[in-house]
Symmetry: C2
Subunit: 199 residues, 2 copies
């Protein structure tokens, strides 16, 4: 490692901090940067700066946008009685891809995680609660990941929201479509069983 | 995809061009950039620009360096009679890690690959040949990857170098240390057999 020139080492470390990019991947990326044409490398650096300076959080739902409010929040066609609560802006992309959901969103920008020292006040919780005061919203759908942290965050929010007279639901657990019973873990199978639907 | 704001989409595309980074990984990385503190994002952009402006190819071996010649080429302790020819600067790091090789290096910056339209004159071949004219170098070790392109490039270079009266060798094929015969493919096993060493 000490064999690398300082600017190279620094670039490797920069790439290494990305989720899912290990030391090896970061090294490959750094060498890729070095093999680029100068203009190409400048474009990459500029894209990073631009994304950061031009995008900010939507005033309403906290998703990233170039405008004051994002496309979903400013659309007249969306159903304002439902808010789908997600961990990150990426999850909104997944939901929009289904083309079935027509309500609003709210991005928490994280999950409660005592292990990582993330508490509720570091998430966009008060911004969510502020949206529930005028009686427009009838239902809040918890769409946090089916993990311990996702569960805990959903439970925590439900406790805060229910007293406001707003319905709180969460995504169904069950078998992934196209999967096989053989490969389902016990917890998922049990959840699919207890949550079974009438045919 | 069209749902993403333009600066975000552009950043995703930039990351997507890295080897081993797919659309999903690039998206994760782009969102990671957005979640950074502004100073942190600037540092990343600067590291990219710096690496590109401060590093260039060593005048002798073509490895990246901040100086006119790299550490290896300017060291008085290295054996100047041997040149190990590699595809990329990354391979030098691997060799140095063994702490067994004390000769010089030469980086080709690619392999001959008719499929990808890479011909010999796009590689640093003439720079290698120029190093073989003064009689210092006794042996050139081909250390290109054990792939079709690596083989072809080694063969091509051997044909050019042998007439200069310089010995040309290449890395041994065989079983990886710590591996199991059971998992060795036929070609590797055959190579290990034909290349067997006397005990």
């Amino acid at each position: 490692m000490g064999n690398n020139a300082e600017p190279l080492e620094r670039l490797i470390e920069q790439f290494n901090q990305f989720p899912g990019v290990g030391r090896k991947g970061a090294t490959r990326m750094a060498y890729q940067v070095l093999s680029m044409q100068p203009a190409q490398a400048m474009e990459l650096a500029k894209a990073i700066q631009d994304a950061h300076t031009r995008l900010h959080r939507c005033r309403i739902c906290m998703n990233y946008t170039e405008q004051d409010t994002c496309k979903v929040c400013s659309s007249a066609k969306r159903d304002r009685s439902m808010i789908c609560v997600v961990e990150s802006p990426r999850d909104i992309v997944s939901f929009e891809r289904t083309r079935e959901y027509n309500g609003m969103y709210h991005v928490l920008h994280g999950l409660i995680s005592p292990m990582d020292g993330v508490t509720a006040d570091q998430l966009c919780v008060k911004e969510l609660l502020a949206r529930l005061t005028d009686g427009t919203v009838q239902e809040v759908i918890m769409a946090t990941n089916p993990t311990v942290e996702g569960e805990a965050t959903a439970m925590y929010l439900a406790k805060l929201i229910k007293p406001l007279g707003v319905r709180v639901s969460r995504l169904a657990y069950g078998l992934p479509v196209g999967s096989s019973l053989e490969y389902a873990d016990e917890t998922t199978l049990f959840r699919a069983f207890t949550g079974r639907d009438e045919l």
